[in-house]
Symmetry: C2
Subunit: 472 residues, 2 copies
C-alpha cells in the first residue's frame, strides 16, 4: 500500500519538531517523512494484530520444535502479506532441547507440592531424586562452599531479583540460573534449585537457559530447575524452622540432538544503495511455557510493522531496511550468531542495527554506539523521537542480544530502551501471554523503530560500521 | 498469657471513642476493654504467624485428603498453644473428591496447549475426549441452545467476572461454574469448559465446586474444567477466526467415596453465662491448587488470634467466645451444615455468629441481622470499630458461608465486610499463597473480630437468636 495523497498532505501540514541540528543532519524531506511515519504509527499500527496472530496461530515455539517450524512459515507469510520486497530464510543450527514432566514435592517435615520448571538446557534427573536441601543466599555463597560439602544434597539459591525500569536487577541475579548448576555440581550436589529470576509474586516459575561448564575438568551435568517466587518463599520458610527439609525432584528434560531452524528476513529494498542495510528485528523463538507474547512476539511485531510502514512509503528509502525474525535467541543467541557468520563480509554495509527484545513497554530512551561523525545524526533522530516521550541519552545502553554478534564484528548499533518495569513479572513464564501487551504502547514502539530505521536509511556517511580486524 | 499491668494501665488512659449511644448499650468497662483489644490487635497480632504456620506446615488441604487430616491436627494444636479453655472436634462427613491429571490442547487449526483445571466435584473424562468447541456468551445463552445441538461437542462459556470491592461480580458469573455442566449435558455436550471465575490476567485457572443436577431426569454428568483467563482469551481469539476449533481434553477426577473430617473448635469460656456462645471462625479446608492462604487460612488465623486475645484478658468475657475452623466449606458448606445440625437445639444460645471467609483485605463495614432491640448494641460496636476505618451499614450484607445454616435456623449474624478487590485474582488458584497477605491488614481484621466478639459476649439481652419453628 502506498500513502494516500490526503494522508500525506495532512502529514506535511503537521508541525515539525526539526531544529537546526536535525536539518543539518538530514534533508528536510527525510525529516518530514520521518515525522509522518511517527505520527501514523503512533496513531495506530499493525503490530498488535501481528503479535495476536503469532501468539494465537502458533503460540509457544521452542527452538527446533514442530511449532518453531510453523512459526518460520508464519513469519515468511506475514512478511509477504505485509508487502516486503524480498523475503528469505537463512538456516540456524543448534542443539535441540526438550522439556518433559517436571515435579517437585517436599517429603519432610512438611509434605506439599512445589511448583518448578526446568531451566533451559538442563539435563533430566533420570527418575526421582530424594535429598535434603541446602540453601545459599546467592551464587557467591554457593561458590564459597567446600568441595564435597553438598555430596548427596540439593543446592538451593535463594536470591531475589530487584525490579527496575531498565532491568538492571537481572544481571546480579541471573548468574544463579546460568552458572549455578555447575557450581553446585562442583561441590557434590545432585541437583540445583533456584528462586525464579523474576520480579513477580505469581506461582509460575521462570525458565531460562543455563550453561554447564565444559571441559575435561568440568563437574557433572546435574538437573536444574526454578521455583516460583511463592514456592521459594515457602521453601525458605520451611528451612527457617531449622529441621532438615527433604525433597523429591523428578525432571525429564534434555538435549535430543541437533536441529535446524531459520532466521526469517524481510527487506524493503533501498532505492539508491540497496546493498547498504539498516537491520532491525526481534527473535521468533520463545520458551515453551507461555505464548511468547512479550518475549519476543512483541519485538517481531514491532519491527515487522515498522518495516512495512517504510515499505508503504511512496518514495522508498535510499538504503535497504531489513527486518530479521531471529531463530533461537533463547538458548544461546544462535540466530544472531548465525546471521553474523553468514554476513561477516558485509559488516560495513550493515550501517546500523537495533533489536526489540525487552517486552512491550513504552520506549523512553534512544542510545547508540556510532562514530563520532555520526553523532549529530543520532541527535537528529532523537529530536524526531522526542514527541513520543523518548529522550536521547548520549551514553550507555547496549545492543539487543541478536545484534551483539554483529556489533562485536564492528557494526554500529542503536538501542530504543523500553520500560521494563514489569517485564520480569512475565518473562520466561506461562504468563507471557497476549493480555500483557498494551496495543497503544506497541504503536509508540512501532513509531520509534520506523523513525530510526527510515532516517538511518537516509543518512549520508553511515554510522561508522566497519569490520574489526580482530573480530571473530 | 494475661495482660501485663502496665499495658492495661496504658489502655485505660487511651482516648475512648465511646459516645452516649455506646455507653447506653455497654458498660464503660466493656467499652474500655474493647478499645484496648482493638488497639492491641491493630498494633500487631498473632494472625500472620498463624496463617504462615498453616500454609507452610500443612499447605493445600483438600477436604478428606491426608493433608486435611494434618490440618485438623494442626488446628487442635494451635488452639491449645493459644491458650483456649476448651478445644474439641466434631465430625463432618461428605463425598471425597480427588483431582488427577488434567490436560487440554488445541488440535486444530492452531495446535497449542491450554491451561485448565477441573472444577471441584467434576467427573473425569475416562481418557481423552476430542471434539469441536461451541462458545456461549453466558449460562443463559447455553440454556437457550436447542437440545441435541451440542451432541458430540464441547460447550464453552466465555463470561468474564467483573472486579468490585464487595465481590458482587461473582454472583452473575459463577452460575457458569456451578450449573454449566448439567446445562451443557442437557444439550448433548461431552464436556464443559468455562472462562475462570476470576478477575486476574494470570495463566492459572480457578477451580471451585460445580453442582450436577440430580434426579431421574437429570442429564449425564460430564467433565467440566476452567480455562485461565489468558487461555480463554486465546480460545476466543481462535474461534473469532471462524474455523472449527477442535480440542483434546483429558481429565482424571472424581468422587472416590465418603470421608470424614472435623470442625475444630476452640472456646474461651464465659464467666457468667458459659452456655451462651458468640461464634466466629473461618474454614480450615482449602482447594488443592494453592496453599489456602487467603481462602481461608486468613479467616482461620484472624478469628483464632481474636479469640486468643479475648482469652488473654485478665477478666474473662461474660459469655463464651467460640472459634470454629470449619471442615469442607469448599465443596458444599459441609462443616457449617454439620455444625448447625449438631447444635440445632442450641440456636438461642448462639447469640450471634460471624465468619471471615473473603480473603485478607481490610474490613470496611460492619453489618448485621439482629433483633430491633439489639440494634443499639450493633451501633455501639460500630462506634468502637470506627477508628479502624470501619463504617456501620445498617442494611445489607449476609452471613459467611459456614454461618448460613445456623442463620437459617434463627441465629443472629454479623458481617465484617472486607475489601475483596483483589480476592478473585487469587481465589481457588495456585496463586493463593502467603505472599498475597499484608500482615498489617490482617491485624486490622483481628482487631475488628476481637471487638465484635468481645462486646457481643458482654451484651445484655442478646441479638435476637431464636430457633425458627419452620427451620430444618
Amino acid at each position: 500500500m502506498r500513502i494516500p495523497t490526503l494522508a500525506l498532505a495532512a502529514a506535511l501540514l503537521a508541525p515539525l519538531t526539526a531544529t537546526i541540528a536535525s536539518e543539518a543532519a538530514f534533508a528536510p524531506d527525510a525529516l518530514k517523512t520521518a515525522a509522518y511515519l511517527r505520527d501514523l504509527a503512533n496513531g495506530g499500527s499493525a503490530a498488535y494484530d501481528i503479535v495476536e496472530s503469532l501468539t494465537t496461530e502458533v503460540g509457544p515455539r521452542l527452538a527446533g520444535s514442530e511449532a518453531d517450524a510453523r512459526a518460520v512459515a508464519w513469519a515468511k507469510a506475514k512478511f509477504q502479506e505485509l508487502g516486503f520486497d524480498r523475503v528469505w530464510t537463512e538456516p540456524v543450527t543448534f542443539p535441540q532441547w526438550r522439556r518433559g514432566v517436571e515435579l517437585a514435592e517436599v517429603l519432610a517435615p512438611y509434605p506439599q507440592p512445589l511448583h518448578i520448571t526446568a531451566l533451559g538446557l538442563s539435563v533430566g534427573s533420570n527418575g526421582p531424586i530424594e535429598a535434603e536441601v541446602v540453601a545459599f543466599a546467592d551464587l557467591a555463597a554457593l561458590s564459597a562452599a567446600e568441595p564435597g560439602s553438598l555430596d548427596g544434597k540439593i543446592a538451593y539459591i535463594t536470591n531475589r531479583m530487584i525490579r527496575t525500569r531498565d532491568g538492571k536487577g537481572y544481571g546480579p541475579a541471573v548468574g544463579a540460573r546460568s552458572r549455578g548448576a555447575s557450581e553446585a555440581a562442583s561441590k557434590g550436589a545432585l541437583a540445583l534449585l533456584i528462586r525464579s529470576i523474576g520480579t513477580d509474586h505469581d506461582r509460575m516459575p521462570h525458565t531460562g537457559a543455563l550453561q554447564y561448564a565444559e571441559g575435561d575438568n568440568a563437574p557433572p551435568k546435574i538437573p536444574a530447575a526454578a521455583l516460583s517466587n511463592p514456592d521459594a518463599d515457602l521453601l525458605t520458610n520451611m528451612l527457617r524452622r531449622g529441621q532438615p527439609v527433604r525433597l523429591r525432584l523428578n525432571i525429564d528434560a534434555g538435549v535430543v540432538g541437533m536441529a535446524t531452524s531459520y532466521n526469517v528476513i524481510g527487506e524493503i529494498t533501498g532505492s539508491q544503495y540497496p546493498e547498504q542495510v539498516v537491520i532491525i528485528g526481534g527473535h521468533l523463538d520463545s520458551w515453551d511455557l507461555g505464548t511468547g507474547a512479550i518475549d519476543d512476539g512483541a519485538g517481531v511485531a514491532i519491527t515487522m510493522a515498522a518495516g512495512a510502514l517504510i515499505g508503504d512509503l511512496k518514495t522508498p528509502p535510499e538504503r535497504s531496511v531489513r527486518v530479521v525474525a531471529f531463530a533461537n535467541e533463547e538458548q544461546g543467541l544462535f540466530g544472531g550468531k548465525a546471521y553474523a557468520e553468514q554476513h561477516k563480509a558485509e559488516i560495513s554495509q550493515h550501517i546500523i542495527g537495533a533489536e526489540s527484545d525487552f517486552g512491550a513497554g513504552r520506549i523512553y530512551a534512544l542510545r547508540a554506539a556510532v562514530s563520532e561523525a555520526a553523532r549529530p545524526q543520532i541527535a537528529a533522530i532523537g529530536e524526531v523521537l522526542a514527541p513520543l516521550g523518548i529522550a536521547h541519552d548520549s551514553e550507555g545502553g547496549g545492543p539487543g542480544p541478536d545484534i551483539i554478534a554483529m556489533a562485536e564484528r564492528g557494526m554500529a548499533w542503536a538501542q530504543l530502551a523500553q520500560d521494563g518495569s514489569d517485564y520480569f513479572d512475565y518473562h520466561h513464564t506461562a504468563n507471557d501471554t497476549l493480555d500483557k501487551i498494551d496495543p497503544r504502547a506497541l504503536d509508540q514502539q512501532v513509531a520509534a523503530y520506523a523513525v530510526l530505521a527510515y532516517l538511518a536509511a537516509q543518512a549520508d556517511g553511515g554510522f561508522g560500521s566497519a569490520a574489526k580486524p580482530e573480530a571473530p
